[in-house]
Symmetry: C2
Subunit: 437 residues, 2 copies
C-alpha cells in the first residue's frame, strides 16, 4: 500500500484457477470487486488469467471472459505465464497430480481441498518445501475462519496441547435443531436438507468422514505430525437420539460432534465423535451451521475461533487471504511461513484414549440390580461419578456418568453389562467433556 | 525447520527486552523453555541479550543472568548487536522515544503497549514503513488471542464492515458475576479485586478507558484509518445496576461492555459502552475474564476470536508469535505484512450513531401517562418496538425498547421525558444489539 502510483503501473500477477464451482466463482467475483484493495495489499494487481473446468458448456456466475476457460487443467499448471495456482476443484485426482506438477514448476499453490490434504498432504508439503514455494490451504478447514494461519504463525512461540473443533456445519445444524426443538434426528436432517444445509446424500457429513478429514489437517498443523484421514477414529451422529439430547440437558450438557486432537512429545490422539459438552463451555454456544475451533496452549491458555465453516463467500475469503500472501511472497527473497517437515509420530489407539462417559440403559427394577451393574463397572476399573434413575418398573432406566476411563475398559464394561440379565438394553453411550477440560 | 543441522550452527539473533514485569519475564521464560521450537520456526536461535528495567535491585522471575540487565534502555535500542526490540514496559514515554529510535535504526520492534499505539501509533506505523522494518503488536489487544494478524493477513482479501469486542476482562468478570449471581456492581467489583481480576484502582477498566484504547487500535487495523483513543466515545459500567441486568434477562439479553467499530468508505464510528446482547449471540457466551472479538466481513460473514485477554502467559504467547515473524523477516529480502498508510477518515459523531435503546423509568400510574410518554418518543422521531409495565401505583415502572434511532434523537427524547411531571426517574438507558445485527 506504500505507493499506489508505482503499483498501478506494475504488471498484474496471473492466477490460474482450477475449478469454478461455488468457491471458484466466488473467488473470481471477489478478485474483481476488491481489485484495488487486493493490489494494495499484495503489492501488485491480481488477475485471473485462466480457468479450468470440467464442463465448458456450463454457465458460470463469474466475471471472466469465455476465452479464458479451458477443460485442460494440465495446460494451466504448465503455463509459464501463470504465476500462482488456486485449486478449488476438490477430490484427490486429478487435483493431486496438478498441484504436484505446479509445485514442481515452482508455482505457489493455494488450495481449499480437504480430501486432498487429508490423504496426500504429506507428499505435497514435502514437494512445496523442496521447491521452496508456498502451499497455502486456509480454506480447507473451517471455511472462512482463520485457523491455519493462527496455528502456524500466531502460536509459533507456544506449545499446543489440545484442539477440539466443531468442524462440520451440517451435523451441528442437525444437533442444534434436535437440542432447541426436541425433534428427532431424522426430522432435523430432513429440515437441514430442505434448507440446503445438508446434501442430498449427507453420508459423509453425518458419519463424521468430512470432520475426520479436517481433524487430520488440524492435527498435522497443530502438532507438526503426519496424520491422514484413515488414522482418525471416527463416529458420526446417526445414533444420537432425542433422549440423549434431553438427558444431556438434564445434566447440564449439550451434544456436539467434536473433532479432537491431543498431542504429547511423540504421540498424538485424533478422533471424531459426538460428545456431551458442558453448557457453559464456549463450544456449547456454537449453534446452527457455524463452526469453531477451541484450543489450549501452554502459555496462551484457551482460545476459540468461530465462524462460517462453509459456503462460497467464506471459503473465497480464506482463499484470497492466502492468495495475497502467495503474491506478496513472489517478491525477491519473499517466502511465507513453511509447514516444515511433518514428523512421523505414533497415533494413539482409540483403546488407550481416556475420557469420561455417559451410559444409559433400560433395566429390571428390582433389588440388587444396581449392585450388579456397579459391579460390572468396577470389574473393569471404571469408576462411577454419578447415577440417576428415571421411571419405575418396566420403564426403569439408569444413567451413569463415569470418571475418566480408558476406552477399552469402558467397552469391556459395556460387554459385561450386555451379558447381565437385569440389563435389557444399553440405550446410549456418549463421551463427556469434563468441566475441568 | 527445513534444516536443523544448519540452523543449530547459525548465530543466535539477539533480542533487546524493554521491561521485565509480568509479560517481560514470561517472554524470557518462554524463550528459554521453547528454544528449539523457536529456533526451528524462526530459522535461527533467539537469545535475550539485554534487558532494561527501571529498578535493577528488584528480583525478577526470569532466566536471565544479572549482567544482562541495565537501567539505561537507550543503550539497548542503539546497540548495534541487538537485532530486534521487544517493548513491554508500558506507558507512552519513554516508550515512544525508544521505539521510534529503534525503528529509525532499522530494528524491528514487537510491542504489547496499547496506550502507546492508541495515542501515537500513526507516527510509529509511518516510522516503520519508512525504515522498511516490522512493527508488530499482537499483544496490545486481546492478550494471547490472535486478532491483529487475522485482521491484517487472513482477511486481506475481504472488506470488514463491523467489529464488536469484549476487550476488557475486569469489566466482563464484574458483569458475569452480576448476571449469574444477581450481585450489585459494588459487590462484584470487590470480588474481582479480591481475586486479582481488578486492580486496586480499577478506574481505567471500569470507565472503559482501557477498552477505548484497544478499540482505537482495532479500528485502525480493521479499517486502515487513523484513530486515537481520544476519538473513541467512551462509557463505562459503573452505572449498570442489578435491575438493568435482571430486565435484560427478562427480555432475552445479557449486558456486556462492548467496543464497537463500524466502517464505511470514508467514515468510521468507534465507541465503547455497555449494551444488551441477545442471549443466543456468541458474544453473550463470553464469560468471566475472557475476551472476544466478533467481526463481520463482506465475504466471510461472521467471525469470532475468543480467549484470555490479559496475563503474562497469554500476552507472552502473542509476543513470541510476533518475534518469530520479525526474526524470520530479518532474512535477506524478508519483510512481513505492513500496516500501510493509515488514512485520515472522518470519525462519525456519537450524535449520529444509530442503535436500538432500552429505556426504563419510574412513572405515575394513572390514565394518560403512556400517551404522554409515547408522545415524547414520537416527537423526536424515535419509534417504539416494545413496552412493558412492571408494578402498580407508587411502584409503577415502564420499560421501552426502541427501533434503531439516532443517538441525538434519543438524548432529546430523554430530556423531554425528564420534563414530564408523570416521569419520576429515568432509571436506566442501555443500547441494545439487535437480533439481526
Amino acid at each position: 500500500m506504500d505507493d499506489n502510483g508505482v503499483m498501478s503501473e506494475r504488471e498484474s500477477v496471473k492466477i490460474g484457477l482450477l475449478g469454478c464451482g461455488n468457491v471458484g466463482s466466488a473467488v473470481a467475483r471477489l478478485v474483481v470487486e476488491h481489485d484495488d484493495l487486493l493490489a494494495a495489499r499484495a503489492g501488485a494487481p491480481i488477475e485471473i488469467a485462466r480457468v479450468a473446468v470440467r464442463d465448458l458448456a456450463k454457465v458460470r456466475d463469474a466475471p471472466i471472459s469465455r476465452d479464458r476457460f479451458t477443460d485442460d487443467p494440465e495446460s494451466i499448471v504448465t503455463d509459464p505465464e501463470i504465476a500462482v495456482i488456486v485449486e478449488v476443484m476438490g477430490g484427490i485426482e486429478p487435483a493431486f497430480t496438478l498441484v504436484a506438477t505446479a509445485l514442481k514448476a515452482r508455482k505457489p499453490v493455494v488450495t481449499g481441498n480437504k480430501e486432498l490434504l487429508a490423504s496426500r498432504g504429506v507428499e505435497l508439503f514435502e514437494a512445496a518445501e523442496e521447491a521452496g514455494v508456498d502451499l497455502l490451504f486456509e480454506a480447507s478447514v473451517g471455511g472462512g475462519i482463520p485457523l491455519i494461519r493462527p496455528l502456524r504463525e500466531s502460536l509459533a512461540g507456544d506449545r499446543i496441547t489440545r484442539v477440539m473443533g466443531i468442524v462440520n456445519g451440517t451435523t451441528n445444524y442437525v444437533l442444534t435443531r434436535m437440542t432447541e426443538e426436541g425433534t428427532s434426528f431424522a426430522e432435523a436432517l430432513a429440515e437441514a436438507q430442505a434448507l440446503g444445509y445438508a446434501e442430498a446424500d449427507p453420508t459423509s457429513d453425518i458419519d463424521g468422514v468430512d470432520a475426520a478429514a479436517k481433524a487430520a489437517i488440524i492435527a498435522s498443523i497443530a502438532f507438526g505430525a503426519q496424520v491422514t484421514v484413515d488414522e482418525v477414529h471416527c463416529e458420526g451422529i446417526s445414533s444420537v437420539t432425542a433422549d440423549d439430547i434431553a438427558s444431556a440437558h438434564d445434566l447440564g450438557y449439550v451434544v456436539k460432534l467434536l473433532a479432537v486432537a491431543e498431542g504429547a512429545d511423540d504421540e498424538i490422539a485424533v478422533r471424531v465423535h459426538p460428545a456431551m459438552v458442558p453448557e457453559h463451555h464456549p463450544l456449547a454456544a456454537v449453534r446452527e451451521s457455524f463452526n469453531a475451533l477451541f484450543l489450549e496452549g501452554d502459555a496462551v491458555g484457551e482460545l476459540m475461533f468461530y465462524g462460517r465453516g462453509a459456503g462460497g463467500g467464506p471459503s473465497a475469503s480464506a482463499v484470497l487471504g492466502d492468495l495475497v500472501d502467495a503474491v506478496r511472497n513472489l517478491a525477491p527473497g519473499g517466502r511465507g511461513a513453511t509447514i516444515g517437515k511433518l514428523a512421523r509420530k505414533r497415533i494413539r489407539s482409540i483403546d488407550d484414549v481416556v475420557s469420561q462417559f455417559y451410559v444409559s440403559m433400560d433395566v429390571a427394577d428390582r433389588p440388587g440390580v444396581l449392585a450388579q451393574i456397579s459391579g460390572a463397572f468396577g470389574d473393569h476399573g471404571v469408576s462411577i461419578l454419578s447415577m440417576q434413575q428415571h421411571g419405575l418398573g418396566e420403564e426403569a432406566r439408569l444413567s451413569f456418568v463415569t470418571h475418566r476411563a480408558r476406552e477399552a475398559d469402558v467397552r469391556a464394561t459395556l460387554r459385561s453389562l450386555d451379558d447381565l440379565e437385569a440389563v435389557q438394553t444399553i440405550r446410549s453411550v456418549l463421551r463427556v467433556m469434563g468441566e475441568d477440560e
